[in-house]
């Protein structure tokens, strides 16, 4: 088994439950390209020992990620990152982003920005993060 080139860190005292922190980090690692399709995640036992947290917490995070279709269970091997295209429909993904954008738009309105200014802002942010 290869040594993973990344490390998880958790902050038990943060307000976010530990399993969510792990889920977020797995997502971030995938988004950042540190984890590619087919890469194996550390085993539940291994990660629990490394982070010194309850095993249930880790398996909860993995189960949620599996349900979301980010990773898949491979019998006898562990958890593997799924290829992105097979993951979810566009509608699904749009649903997830929608509340975030909506909140931003509401705040912008409250600050008195008009439609043109808001779309200009979004365009400029899109330029800063080319796909």
């Amino acid at each position: 088994m290869h040594e993973p080139a990344f490390r998880f860190t958790v902050h038990p005292s943060s307000g976010l439950p530990i399993y969510r922190q792990i889920m977020d980090q797995v997502r971030a690692l995938i988004a950042g390209g540190h984890l590619g399709p087919g890469d194996l995640l550390p085993s539940v036992r291994q990660l629990a020992a490394e982070l010194e947290v309850n095993m249930m917490t880790i398996s909860k995070a993995y189960n949620r990620l599996e349900a979301e279709g980010v990773i898949e269970r491979v019998r006898g091997t562990g958890m593997r990152v799924r290829p992105p295209d097979a993951r979810r429909s566009l509608a699904d993904r749009r649903d997830e982003v929608r509340p975030l954008v909506e909140q931003a738009v509401i705040r912008a309105r409250q600050l008195g920005m008009d439609d043109a200014q808001i779309s200009e802002l979004i365009q400029s942010i899109l330029k800063e993060h080319p796909s």
Partner: protein, 296 residues
């Protein structure tokens, strides 16, 4: 025997001769394989509850069952499946660490000497020293080892880390995590150190006013208790109230509200009712504990 609940307490009351009514109807079911942290203020009755569970204290009313048996009349077989680390460790001061271990082992039908020896080594306990001169922290380590030696199915710890230094606390947490790898084992511990609890516990029980006011998953607790930072368009009236709030501070147009069960609908309602912007803040267990006890 009920399969799931290792500990089943129903409407447990206990008062003391001094007239203090400490437990006033405790209901608590602890499922097999869970790691439960028991939280409560000083003198909330945590130790009393743990002692009632172990049959050290007799309950006045209600039922208390451990492994399906009445806690007061626990059989020898059930006691062999039970481990306890008290808040104050009382051992025979003249004995050596090694002898104390041998003495305790002599009473149990099975004893994992290999594990005990390893823990004694790892936790740097001097096996040939007398128990008397040991420091409080060392005593606590020894008590933990003695409670783990027979590999109990239920481990009850009363503030196990109170007198341990940070290094020893980590060692202890590691031992507990290792211990829970077997899914048959259940741990119930009381503590003040919420950060430790957040690491190892999967469930939290909060004891307040002699009752269990919350008992559920730690994640559920963290996800449901939130602090809302509300900024309304206009001055908030003195009658301003939020359903299910634990604690509230209102000043002019803004309010800080801790609520027990945060959900999107409630937040949306507030947002439209007061034409407000609302920031939802996550809370650490310590913050939640403080909010629940109306402090800060």
């Amino acid at each position: 025997m009920t399969d799931k609940a290792v500990i089943a307490a129903h409407d447990v009351h206990r008062s003391f001769d001094s007239g203090k009514h400490v437990l006033r109807g405790v209901d608590l079911d602890i499922p097999r394989g869970s790691v439960v942290g028991l939280l409560g203020k000083n003198a909330a009755g945590k130790s009393t509850l743990l002692k009632c569970i172990l049959g050290l204290l007799r309950i006045d009313e209600g039922t208390m069952r451990v492994f399906g048996e009445d806690a007061w009349w626990l059989s020898a077989e059930s006691k062999a499946r039970l481990g306890y680390v008290p808040q104050e460790v009382k051992l025979y001061p003249w004995m050596r660490v090694r002898q104390m271990i041998a003495y305790t082992a002599a009473f149990y039908p099975s004893w994992n000497s290999a594990m005990v020896d390893r823990l004694v080594r790892e936790w740097e306990l001097p096996p040939d020293d007398r128990i008397g001169p040991l420091s409080v922290g060392q005593l606590q380590k020894l008590a933990i080892i003695l409670a783990l030696g027979h590999e109990p199915e239920l481990l009850v710890l009363d503030e196990p880390v109170a007198s341990l230094d940070p290094v020893a606390r980590r060692d202890f947490l590691r031992a507990i995590l290792e211990f829970t790898q077997n899914e048959n084992r259940t741990i119930l511990f009381s503590t003040h150190i919420t950060s430790d609890l957040e690491r190892v516990a999967d469930r939290v029980a909060i004891l307040r006013g002699g009752r269990i006011v919350f008992h559920d998953g730690l994640d559920t607790l963290k996800e449901s208790v939130k602090r809302l930072r509300i900024t309304a368009a206009e001055e908030l009236p003195p009658t301003f109230a939020v359903r299910g709030s634990l604690h509230m501070e209102v000043a002019g147009r803004s309010a800080l509200v801790a609520i027990a069960e945060a959900n999107d609908r409630l937040i949306d309602e507030l947002r439209t009712q007061w034409d407000a912007t609302i920031d939802v803040e996550d809370l650490s267990l310590e913050d939640i504990f403080l909010e629940m006890h109306h402090v800060g």
